[in-house]
């Protein structure tokens, strides 16, 4: 398979770049599009620090050849904030002190976003399952689980307020 041009809609913006067959989605995001939020941890799909959303589903972008997802929509942590206003999940991570060194945080947040998009009212067990592919070596996980549950509450509250308006 030769070098080819790959088209992606990344965080709502159309992007085109050249990709070798071995170029992973992670490498393309970081090196070619300058989006360094997704981290390269293990580079074998075990740690989850490179998690992004591919057409809404969480994937470990280190295992996705970029050329195989031509035409897809990709969401990364950089696209979550609305200007200066952070997403509910991001704000809940800060308020709940759910980060220490921060290396796992973008992947955790994207896994959480994927969970809350399909399940607005998850249990702690469901949160654990959703982030079971994301490794954290600092926090002991408890503040992360609490933050995701908190983000779910914020999002439901906001939806409730908008419904009554």
């Amino acid at each position: 398979m030769p070098v080819r041009i790959v088209n992606l809609k990344v965080n709502g913006v159309d992007q085109a770049f050249m990709a070798k067959p071995e170029t992973t989605l992670l490498l393309a995001l970081r090196e070619q599009l300058g989006l360094t939020g997704a981290k390269r941890g293990c580079a074998q799909g075990a740690c989850g620090s490179c998690t992004v959303l591919l057409d809404g589903a969480p994937v470990v972008s280190c295992l996705v050849p970029a050329a195989t997802v031509d035409g897809s929509a990709v969401a990364t942590v950089e696209g979550l904030a609305d200007g200066q206003e952070l997403s509910d999940v991001q704000q809940a991570f800060i308020d709940g002190f759910a980060t220490q060194c921060g290396f796992c945080t973008p992947g955790m947040i994207m896994s959480a976003e994927a969970l809350l998009a399909r399940n607005p009212d998850p249990t702690a067990d469901e949160v654990n399952e959703a982030i079971s592919g994301n490794v954290c070596r600092c926090t002991g996980y408890a503040p992360i689980v609490s933050a995701i549950l908190d983000a779910a509450r914020r999002r439901r509250d906001r939806a409730g307020q908008e419904a009554t308006r």
């Binding site: 293990c42 075990a46 220490q100 921060g102 067990d125 654990n128 490794v135 926090t139 002991g140 996980y141």
Partner: protein
């Protein structure tokens, strides 16, 4: 099959720093033209939060807000010397060096402000929001951005300071062995509640109760997280992590990388309560002691003791695998 429950505890005393051939860390601080303060270090923040804590130390000493502080730990080739991030020494050594540097810079800052305000520097104070003001007459004040501009463009001064913290090498007294190898010691106790399945041998850690005496907790949220994140590592050492059964004889069957190396995930975390006790050390930055490494220690013997309490099996080799529990139970039955 019976689920057995037990409780165990363990305590740890842990030194801050170690007895090298002297254990120095140095820091430099200088103000930019905009009135930000740059702290230059070689010390490494590998995620433990050193940059946050030393920025706090500098802000507190300078009397300036945290937002004014920039910590630059870029390069061990060009930065002031630091022995490194180990021995739970970072907060203690680097914090002390940064405070010393910030004190020197503060003196220059106040002198520059005094010359601008035409008052005596001894009559000035900081308000913590970025202003230097005359004591008792707060309307007479000058912002750090104006002080920095005056220093650079009018007075030809550098608002800067040097910090040199050195724990001198300690030699033992030949007759007694007495020596002073570390700077202070933190103390902790962990109580573990476990469940042991006597059919499968599986140990589940249900709860950990942590109490840490760590001197002044410079950042209580980070200190608590260090305690609980470290306890997670302790649980991981105690009942999960192993290269057994084949290492080192054969690498063909055991874990060869971290994707196969068993560590607890978010679903296997015990409930934790953590209490921080603050008895400030005499020589730490604002009384702090180091708590980096010790947090993984106490949970392990506490869990071993809880297993003993639950089922009578005394395990002395980590990890406490189902196999080792079952072999222990068999040995108890054989002995009975």
């Amino acid at each position: 099959m019976t689920l057995l429950y037990g409780r165990g505890f363990a305590s740890v005393n842990y030194p801050t720093g170690m007895n090298l051939g002297g254990d120095p860390s140095q820091a430099l601080i200088h103000a930019t033209t905009m009135g930000g303060f740059v702290i230059s270090l070689s010390s490494v923040d590998l995620g433990q939060g050193l940059k946050t804590v030393v920025a706090q130390c500098a802000a507190e000493t300078l009397g300036m807000p945290m937002e004014q502080i920039i910590v630059d730990t870029a390069d061990t080739d060009t930065g002031p010397h630091c022995m490194g991030t180990f021995a739970s020494r970072g907060t203690h050594r680097v914090g002390n060096a940064v405070i010393m540097a910030a004190r020197e810079a503060r003196e220059v800052m106040l002198q520059v402000a005094a010359d601008e305000l035409e008052v005596d520097a001894g009559d000035l104070e900081t308000d913590g929001s970025g202003y230097v003001r005359l004591k008792g007459s707060p309307a007479k004040q000058i912002h750090i951005s104006d002080i920095a501009l005056a220093a650079h463009f009018k007075q030809g001064k550098s608002i800067s300071g040097r910090g040199m913290f050195l724990k001198e090498r300690s030699y033992p007294v030949p007759e007694t062995g007495e020596m002073d190898p570390d700077s202070c010691q933190a103390h902790a106790c962990t109580v573990a509640d476990v469940e042991v399945d006597d059919e499968t041998g599986v140990v589940t850690v249900l709860r950990l109760h942590n109490t840490y005496e760590i001197g002044r907790a410079l950042n209580p949220a980070m200190a608590t997280q260090q305690v609980e994140g470290g306890a997670w590592m302790g649980v991981s050492h105690a009942i999960f992590e192993s290269t057994e059964p084949y290492y080192p004889a054969s690498r063909a069957h055991g874990p060869v990388d971290f994707s196969e190396y068993l560590m607890p995930g978010s679903g296997e975390i015990p409930e934790q309560t953590s209490v921080i006790l603050e008895r400030p050390s005499s020589n730490g930055p604002f009384g702090a002691k180091g708590i980096g490494e010790m947090t993984a220690n106490a949970p392990i013997p506490a869990i071993a003791n809880a297993i003993f309490d639950a089922c009578g099996v005394r395990l002395t080799t980590m990890p406490f695998t189902p196999e080792s529990v079952l072999r222990g139970l068999d040995a108890l039955r054989d002995g009975a």
